[in-house]
């Protein structure tokens, strides 16, 4: 210590020196690790080794980590509980929210033509959020496609072909009679139900997303029961692409048109229809249908991407 001080004092060396040492570029030489057929055992042993390494090296770290975890979680919950206890009382109308709700409830019917106030709200008053919402789903579809669709590149990657995780990508239970019969009985009603929800979004609980989800479920059951080979004949990749594109484009442009006219005070010639009928609620019905289409395609797309890494026959 002392001589280090004097070294610095005489300007021979100084405490900053070690910073300069690490200013010399560190070059770690990492060992290579190539997968070879006969090295799979080695890989497994390495994994075991890795676990032991993790346990050995990081035990203290994990202890610390857990303590911090518990403390922070408890603190978060505590603070939030305090907040909750200060919030407006449960089950009593919040006077501050009244102004907004009044308009929605009392004017909603005549302004949107929708009996279901919630549908009217999310598809007319706050339609911009819903526009974003439907594109969230689309974005998710794109991400999943990038990740899971098999293409030349990730077919080629050495790393993922040694164990096929999915037992058999084209596994087909269409030979299973119970499944087929049950499906044949239930599928029409499920489809019908989905369509019903879709069409009645503006007059009863439901709407595009829920209806589309039900129809997507129906498609999934169909594929599960009769195999992808059958679905590929009716439901191809190109078709799902076109449906998604057309619905989304229609959605964007319809909403864009309404926003534009509304903001500029131009009357948009959209008939409101008679409240309570299926053909009512102005744009709500077509929008619901569009959303339902997208959702159905997306749900089925997720399923078949997870199962076999592609949407429909390609």
């Amino acid at each position: 210590m002392k001589e280090r001080f004097f070294k610095w004092f005489y300007g021979e060396s100084d405490p900053m020196e070690h910073i300069l040492d690490c200013a010399e570029v560190p070059d770690e030489s990492r060992e290579e690790w190539k997968y070879e057929e006969h090295e799979i055992e080695r890989e497994i042993s390495r994994r075991v080794h890795t676990q032991s390494v993790i346990r050995a090296e990081r035990r203290g770290f994990y202890a610390f980590y857990l303590i911090i975890a518990v403390i922070s979680c408890l603190m978060l919950i505590g603070v939030l509980l305090f907040t909750v206890s200060q919030l407006p009382r449960y089950g009593v109308e919040n006077p501050r929210a009244k102004e907004v709700i009044e308009r929605y409830v009392e004017k909603g019917l005549e302004e949107t033509g929708a009996v279901n106030i919630v549908s009217g709200m999310i598809l007319d008053y706050r339609a911009f959020d819903t526009l974003g919402e439907s594109h969230v789903l689309f974005t998710a579809l794109l991400c999943v496609m990038i990740l899971l669709r098999l293409d030349e590149k990730n077919k080629r990657t050495r790393y993922e072909n040694y164990y096929t995780v999915l037992a058999d990508p084209y596994y087909d239970i269409s030979t299973d009679p119970i499944m087929r019969i049950a499906a044949t009985i239930t599928l029409p009603s499920i489809f019908l139900f989905g369509i019903y929800i879709l069409l009645n979004g503006q007059i009863s609980p439901g709407g595009g997303f829920s209806g589309g989800a039900v129809m997507g479920a129906a498609l999934i059951i169909y594929a599960a029961a009769f195999g992808f080979t059958v679905t590929d004949r009716v439901f191809t990749y190109r078709m799902s692409r076109c449906i998604t594109f057309l619905s989304l484009a229609f959605y964007s442009f319809a909403k864009g048109y309404v926003f534009f006219t509304g903001a500029n005070g131009i009357p948009n010639g959209v008939p409101k229809g008679t409240p309570g009928a299926v053909l009512s609620g102005g744009l709500i019905l077509p929008l619901d249908i569009a959303v339902g289409m997208v959702v159905a395609c997306t749900m089925f797309g997720f399923y078949s991407l997870f199962r076999r890494g592609s949407i429909g026959g390609e």
């Binding site: 990492r30 690790w33 190539k34 390495r46 994994r47 890795t50 390494v53 993790i54 990081r58 980590y65 975890a69 922070s72 979680c73 978060l76 919950i77 939030l80 509980l81 907040t83 909750v84 206890s85 919030l87 009382r89 449960y90 009593v92 109308e93 919040n94 009244k98 907004v100 709700i101 929605y104 409830v105 009392e106 909603g108 019917l109 279901n116 106030i117 919630v118 709200m121 999310i122 706050r126 959020d129 919402e133 439907s134 969230v136 789903l137 974005t139 998710a140 991400c143 999943v144 990740l147 899971l148 995780v165 007059i203 009863s204 609980p205 709407g207 997303f209 997720f302 991407l305 997870f306």
Partner: protein
């Protein structure tokens, strides 16, 4: 300080759910459990919204036999928010699941730290 907690009991429960999910998402090492934690977290928020919108002794906001009075229906806004929130949560879950599938295909494990250590050994990733 906490005297209203029992009155706001439902919201308190929702918040506790949120905290549980938050902690799972933050501190579970298993990816699937993290994912479940995320869903619990979202559910907590949705429950919170729903209980926020609920008003004693009122009906769902669907105009029945032409009653157009605020006093008849509960607050529709939280319901709308929940709808949007559910869609978002579904999409995020799908993306996370596919990420997990990829990682499992590659490293044959679901333990995040293990994956992290393994990933350092691979030539391709330089």
């Amino acid at each position: 300080m906490f005297e209203n907690l029992w009155i706001n009991g439902e919201e308190a429960v929702a918040i506790i759910l949120f905290g549980i999910g938050f902690t799972m998402l933050l501190f579970q090492r298993n990816l699937l459990k993290k994912l479940i934690g995320m869903n619990i977290m979202d559910t907590g928020v949705f429950l919170f919204l729903a209980s926020m919108g609920y008003i004693e002794g009122r009906k769902a906001p669907i105009v029945t036999n032409g009653v157009l009075d605020t006093a008849a229906y509960i607050n529709p806004v939280p319901a709308g928010l929940v709808l949007t929130g559910i869609v978002v949560s579904v999409s995020v879950t799908a993306v996370m699941l596919s990420l997990v599938i990829r990682l499992y295909k590659r490293y044959h494990t679901l333990d995040l730290d293990e994956i992290y250590v393994l990933s350092k050994h691979q030539m391709e990733d330089r």
